[in-house]
């Protein structure tokens, strides 16, 4: 059933043709007169004091623009939540990729050559390179205790309940860093003088970059302009890092008297220096009744935040809130900390903390089932949340979702019951290839956490043009995920207009209102609703003016603009009236709604090579309404591929706080051959506060694959893997004994 003209239909991707034919221009494609190419001189040691900087003699340094911390006209800071990260190291070094000096030259190869001819003398200090070293405060490298943020969530009486448990468990789960591997490395072009700063580039959040430039230059807001250029993927990797890169490029331009400066990282520099997913360690102590009822959870969650705060407190928040998974648990304690280490700061990555804590709880549930002698599906049947239940933060579960039915649908599709029974018999043969089936159940909160959406105060606008078209004005960026297309569909739906009438304006802070960052699965659910409401307002304006009687939207807009000179409607975020949140106690409605899912896998483990190959993958999810089924399924498939990579292959190897394997030949993401066919199914239960009933879904598919895979490995081998990536090397140690 679809009562809509555009919503729920697979409208073709708006910018798809330009991208397919190569007509779309990315930052590094622009030909700019007088352009200088920028490069960065970095520290190479994880922690120390800079004692001197030397330029190789006889090299024509006068041809180069050279910037150090002393050239910063305002504050030496890359402004995020708090201002602890310098734009350029000034005396002190806190990670091995820290930027110390910037160089620019008209010849891109000369500037690469030059940066090898700068020698930075550093007096090394003992670094902190692991979560354990950070916890021991040996030494203290940040604040008083190396802790960026601590979050406590408590519900009921976890200690009392734990004592009564029939089964008590205590297990620790580890997850590794992950590199985004967006197809386009970070790139920015800047032109900066005291008259104004213009930054164009690849980014998710133009207003974050705007804020950072404003703070660093200490220029009035209106003198800073940031425009997003066609962006080749983000996955969170272009949420906070472009602020740093924009400051660097703008500083070089400033020093060069306003000449345009481009810094475009190559893949190696991008992998080594930009943010990655936070590594985590989660200890879960739990208590279950004899029948499998979950009595208590006590979760200690630790995230490695790297050298500076950046977004770690917010990542920690989402990790903590998702730590008890989709379960009714009357007695709960979550103690979560984000810790400082001397590595490049870890940052946003699709899922934003939730994949880490959901991995732990979903593995833990399968381990508990085995200890209780229950099928993992039976254990979940007993404990899954139901509408009206009280969630971890005291939030009443309002979503009318039947999680048991959702789970059963995935289990039926994968033929779980039959395989669960037959595989152990097959595996008893001497064939070294063992089979397993497993699944995970999980959720992902849509939009910013708690009251943050209210604080963002997002605005989107629509504008009618003289020629009868409609411009969508929002700061939300298209980065391959489909924002352009979804906004077009929603605006067309509200106006009852054909989609070709709608143009989504490329985000530019001088043109578009601040609809917030393009993160947190909020673009469709939150900003899409603003676009819808602005569209409904425009329709009402036209009707009130006595226009639109013949249904000709273009004609009505033309007439209105001719009569009144302009046609513009805006919509500002209003929280759903039920939402209450207290940031000090962490009590209340953490998210307006959640998307829900069950992912099931059938896999083979080859005990000759310890390789795990996923043979079949079923992804069932409830996402409110899929506004564009083709794009939605693509999001799910891509997220599952990224999740399989995180679970099995993608290992960041750290040496002295640096990513040692910062090349695509040594950091391997899944190819088509490594992936199964991913079968995507949507349950649709329209969400009252989303456009056309839609909820966020961009991050959801990252959360479920890793635990589902390791649960299936538990079934195949009767072992308990607790770590991702579960590389063949890790699995060999588990199977053969370390």
């Amino acid at each position: 059933m679809n009562d809509y003209a555009h919503i729920g239909r697979s409208v073709q991707r708006r910018e798809g043709r330009a991208k397919l034919t190569g007509a779309a221009l990315f930052t590094d494609d622009f030909k700019i007169e007088g352009l200088l190419h920028g490069a960065t001189v970095r520290s190479r040691v994880p922690r120390g004091r800079i004692t001197g900087i030397h330029f190789e003699e006889g090299f024509p340094w006068d041809e180069f623009v050279i910037v150090t911390a002393r050239d910063i006209p305002g504050k030496n800071v890359v402004a995020h939540l708090i201002q602890d990260q310098p734009c350029l190291a000034d005396g002190v070094i806190n990670h091995p990729e820290e930027a110390i000096m910037l160089l620019a030259h008209p010849d891109p190869q000369r500037v690469q050559d030059a940066r090898e001819r700068v020698r930075v003398d550093v007096e090394p200090l003992p670094p902190v390179l692991s979560i354990d070293e950070s916890l021991r405060c040996d030494p203290v490298i940040w604040g008083e205790d190396n802790i960026f943020k601590t979050i406590h969530i408590t519900k009921g009486d976890p200690d009392g309940a734990e004592a009564q448990g029939h089964l008590r468990m205590d297990a620790t789960y580890l997850t590794g860093a992950q590199e985004h591997v967006y197809i386009e490395p970070n790139a920015i072009i800047a032109e900066a003088t005291a008259e104004g700063v213009l930054v164009r580039g690849s980014m998710q959040c133009p207003y974050y970059v705007h804020h950072a430039l404003h703070e660093m230059f200490q220029l009035p807001l209106e003198k800073v302009r940031v425009a997003q250029v066609e962006t080749g993927g983000g996955f969170g990797g272009k949420e906070d890092f472009p602020s740093m890169l924009a400051c660097h490029a703008a500083l070089l331009s400033w020093k060069a008297g306003g000449r345009p400066v481009k810094i475009a990282y190559d893949r190696e520099e991008d992998m080594a220096c930009t943010t990655k997913r936070h590594p985590s360690r989660t200890r879960i102590r739990s208590a279950f009744a004899t029948d499998g009822t979950l009595l208590a959870l006590d979760v200690e969650l630790l995230l490695d935040g790297g050298a500076y705060t950046t977004l770690s407190p917010v990542v920690l928040s989402r990790a903590a809130i998702h730590a008890s998974g989709p379960y009714r648990c009357p007695n709960l304690r979550v103690q979560a900390r984000a810790l400082a280490t001397n590595t490049p700061p870890h940052g946003a990555f699709r899922g934003f903390g939730a994949p880490q804590s959901l991995f732990a709880i979903e593995r833990h549930m399968d381990e508990a089932a085995r200890r209780l002698g229950l099928d993992p599906a039976e254990l979940r049947r007993k404990n899954l949340l139901r509408t009206g239940d009280v969630m971890a933060t005291g939030q009443i579960m309002r979503d009318e979702v039947d999680l048991i039915a959702l789970m059963d649908r995935a289990l039926t599709e994968i033929r779980y019951a039959e395989k669960r029974d037959s595989y152990p018999t097959l595996n008893a043969s001497d064939d070294p290839v063992k089979r397993g089936v497993g699944f995970s159940v999980f959720m992902h909160g849509g939009g910013f956490t708690g009251s943050a959406e209210t604080m963002l105060n997002s605005v989107a606008a629509l504008e009618g043009t003289e020629d009868g078209r409609v411009r969508v004005l929002a700061a939300s960026t298209e980065m391959g995920q489909g924002a352009n297309t979804v906004f077009t569909q929603v605006a067309a739906e509200a106006l009852q207009a054909p989609v070709d009438l709608i143009m989504v304006v490329p985000p530019d802070t001088s043109l578009v209102p601040n609809s917030g960052p393009t993160v947190a699965s909020r673009t469709t659910q939150v900003v899409g609703k603003l676009v819808l409401d602005a569209g409904l307002a425009m329709r009402k304006t036209l009707l009130d003016a006595g226009l639109l009687l013949d249904g000709d939207v273009a004609g009505a807009i033309r007439t209105y603009v001719a009569r009144h000179g302009a046609l513009r409607t805006e919509s500002r975020y209003q929280k759903p009236d039920f939402m209450e949140w207290d940031d000090t106690t962490y009590r209340g409605d953490a998210y307006a709604t959640y998307s829900w899912a069950c992912y099931a896998v059938d896999l083979r483990v080859d005990l000759v090579t310890y390789e795990t190959q996923v043979a079949d993958f079923v992804a069932v999810q409830e996402v409110g309404r899929a506004l564009n089924p083709t794009l939605a399924a693509g999001q799910i498939e891509g997220g599952v591929a990224q999740g399989i990579g995180w679970g099995l292959n993608e290992e960041v190897i750290w040496r002295g706080g640096s990513m040692a394997n910062h090349q695509m030949s040594n950091y391997l993401i899944a190819t088509a051959v490594d992936l199964p066919r991913i079968r995507v199914f949507f349950e649709e239960r329209p969400f009252a506060y989303g456009p056309g009933g839609a909820k966020g879904l961009g991050e959801l598919p990252m959360d479920g694959p890793a635990p589902a895979i390791l649960n299936a490995v538990q079934h195949a081998l009767q072992i308990a893997p607790r770590q991702v990536p579960m590389t063949p090397e890790v699995l060999m140690d588990l199977v053969e004994g370390a």
Binding site: D266, V608, N661
Partner: protein
């Protein structure tokens, strides 16, 4: 790209004679065939060479000749040509499989057999197959040509018998008798487009229920591609029904000397090399 083309020169001979003369005159010039190995460190700014000898256009180094007893490959034979050849599917399946396991289609369409050998990577995919088929190499200079067994060619990590004025010009492989047993398995970090962590190739001929001939070779477990001569010796002449698996595995561990690196650990390589040998012998016992 961090490599700087403006700092490099390329010598571009028009024929093999010119190439050999330039090679003799400029021993520091790095021979450049398909470039698939060299361009990766070049782009990363890690290739020290500044002078290159381009072999790509030399027709004398192309072509595959099949005679009654052997197949001769020009050094510039592409992996794609090996993979597509109908005779090789039948007679040299290991070579076909290892050619198909090398990089992506683009690499297979540019990478050459001679280049793969000359680059000397212990992780290269085709050398173990060449070793088990008893390949020989023709090394040519202005001084003349000589044939050397491929098994003797590599003398250490990225070291070989190739003299500074020589080029690999041809690769010759005897055609194995029909009915042999062929085994090739590459273990990488993923199923395609990965550098190997361990690879094992084997060729055997059985008769009267016994192993009459056997060659086993491995990649990524020593400073160079190697024959597992100890393991071969433990198995040669033995009955397929009662293969001395433990002795062969023990001998294999002495044959190899793997290291820890970014791709894997010595421990994993030792264990999986043994597992591959056992897997190969399971197949052989069924023949």
């Amino acid at each position: 790209m961090r490599g700087q083309p403006s700092l490099c020169d390329v010598l571009a001979p028009l024929n093999l004679d010119e190439a050999l003369a330039l090679r003799a005159a400029h021993p520091e010039a790095r021979p450049l065939a398909g470039g698939t190995d060299l361009m990766v460190p070049f782009a990363a700014g890690r290739l020290p060479d500044r002078l290159f000898l381009n072999l790509w256009g030399l027709e004398e180094l192309r072509g595959i000749t099949v005679s009654d007893g052997e197949v001769t490959f020009g050094a510039l034979t592409l992996f794609r040509e090996i993979a597509a050849h109908p005779l090789f599917q039948r007679e040299f399946p290991n070579l076909v499989r290892s050619a198909k396991a090398t990089g992506a289609l683009a690499i297979q369409s540019r990478g050459s057999l001679g280049g793969n050998i000359a680059n000397g990577s212990p992780a290269a995919d085709t050398p173990p197959s060449l070793l088990v088929y008893g390949a020989e190499l023709e090394l040519t200079s202005l001084r003349g040509s000589r044939w050397v067994p491929y098994a003797d060619f590599h003398t250490g990590y990225k070291r070989s018998l190739l003299a500074p004025d020589e080029l690999i010009t041809r690769i010759r492989v005897p055609r194995p008798r029909a009915g042999g047993f062929h085994y090739f398995r590459k273990v990488g970090t993923r199923q395609a487009q990965a550098i190997s962590k361990v690879s094992l190739a084997a060729w055997a001929r059985t008769g009267n229920g016994h192993i009459q001939e056997l060659r086993i070779a491995l990649g990524s477990v020593a400073p160079m591609p190697i024959r597992a001569r100890g393991a071969e010796k433990a198995l040669l002449g033995r009955s397929g029904a009662s293969l001395p698996l433990d002795a062969a595995l023990e001998a294999l561990q002495a044959d190899i000397s793997p290291i820890d690196d970014l791709r894997s650990s010595a421990r994993f390589r030792r264990k999986v090399a043994g597992n591959l040998l056992a897997d190969m012998l399971r197949g052989l016992a069924l023949v």
